[in-house]
Symmetry: C2
Subunit: 224 residues, 2 copies
């Protein structure tokens, strides 16, 4: 079994596999996307966003530790909000509307590409069927995202000035949440991956999650 810092280094070494430099993201940041491409992106990313509470609940369902469940439940609350019209999912719908989509055409998922659906469903299915520590480890892509989120917000505001500020609520709110999440989630994974095999399974889970994210953008990019 690796010492905590070596295990963490192994997880962090997956950073290049994160989707920050996917060709589609590079075009997004550079301001090269058309309104239609931004719509396709927002409508497909919606399918990911709307699946997260169910993914997180599947982790709860597999976790026998009340203290971990208490912590993890905050994510469901974050995404679903405390009432209608609040929460991360709602904020993503605002982004979709800000790039010109009707809420109805997002919610009925007519624009969701099969490749995106398969990738996201694979992620939810992972959480349903794998040990909860691995599922939690799969969420550690958060460790890689704060810098990206800050840049995205700046680049999108600059390069797509026609997108109203209300469209950025999702990124603005994520910025304050993510940094803390990545740290505490890492603590849980380090504490509960107690054999070398479990550590390796957690590294594999994080690699798998990177693949899920990449596959989402592959499909969107291919159909742009």
């Amino acid at each position: 079994m690796l010492a905590a810092e070596d295990f963490i280094a192994e997880l962090r070494a997956l950073a290049p596999r994160y989707w920050h430099d996917h060709p589609f993201h590079l075009r997004l940041h550079a301001g090269d996307l058309s309104r239609e491409e931004l719509q396709l992106w927002a409508a497909n990313r919606w399918y990911y966003q709307r699946s997260l509470p169910q993914k997180d609940a599947a982790i709860l369902a597999n976790c026998p530790l009340p203290q971990v469940r208490r912590y993890w439940m905050e994510r469901i609350v974050y995404h679903d909000g405390s009432r209608d019209g609040e929460g991360g999912a709602e904020n993503w719908l605002r982004m979709a509307e800000a790039v010109g989509l009707d809420r109805a055409e997002v919610l009925d998922e007519r624009h969701v590409l099969p490749g995106v659906r398969f990738a996201v469903d694979a992620y939810v299915n992972f959480a349903r069927t794998k040990p909860w520590v691995e599922s939690i480890a799969s969420g550690l892509t958060e460790m890689f995202s704060p810098g990206l989120m800050r840049r995205r917000l700046a680049d999108m505001r600059e390069n797509y000035p026609w997108i109203g500020e209300e469209g950025f609520a999702y990124f603005v709110s994520r910025l304050t949440v993510i940094a803390g999440e990545g740290k505490s989630t890492l603590d849980i994974v380090v504490e509960h991956a107690r054999t070398r095999e479990q550590q390796q399974a957690c590294v594999a889970a994080l690699a798998f999650k990177c693949d899920v994210l990449q596959a989402i953008l592959d499909a969107v990019d291919y159909h742009s």
Copy 2:
């Protein structure tokens, strides 16, 4: 499809199948249980109590509706509490201690009978694999319990005066919660069971849950 009131009547008609008059419960209420029998009961019921948050999270994981998830999540919070030392599960541990068990021997589940484990696991597995409306319907045994809970509290206080009042925290807190839960849960089931087949599946789910509860007490009674 049945009108709401006829569907509700069909659900309520399962009341006789509830575990209120199981021979073991009758002995419990009559004051006929020995300290050892109460311990076996408390230690086995613990396995049910501790499985409930995972059962409820499995329902969340299958439910795509944020408004239902928001409502249902309150149950997980109820069982797990907001911090260590709070919540329904903790209150059950206090009952176990009040009848003379060590917390450790409850938590390590050494007294849990195979029949109890199979019954409870079947309930959790039901929630994992069945449509969420059916899983929610399975929880409607709550409709049958407020009167029973009140009687249990009165009968146990009277017939087992050696059980300290702190042991009754679970029943006391459930009393205030259950009445409301039964009503709102019924509303959800009535609203979302939209075909006769779904209504029938919900009735079957509630019958199944009654069987789970009966099987728990069968095993406890057999080994008392």
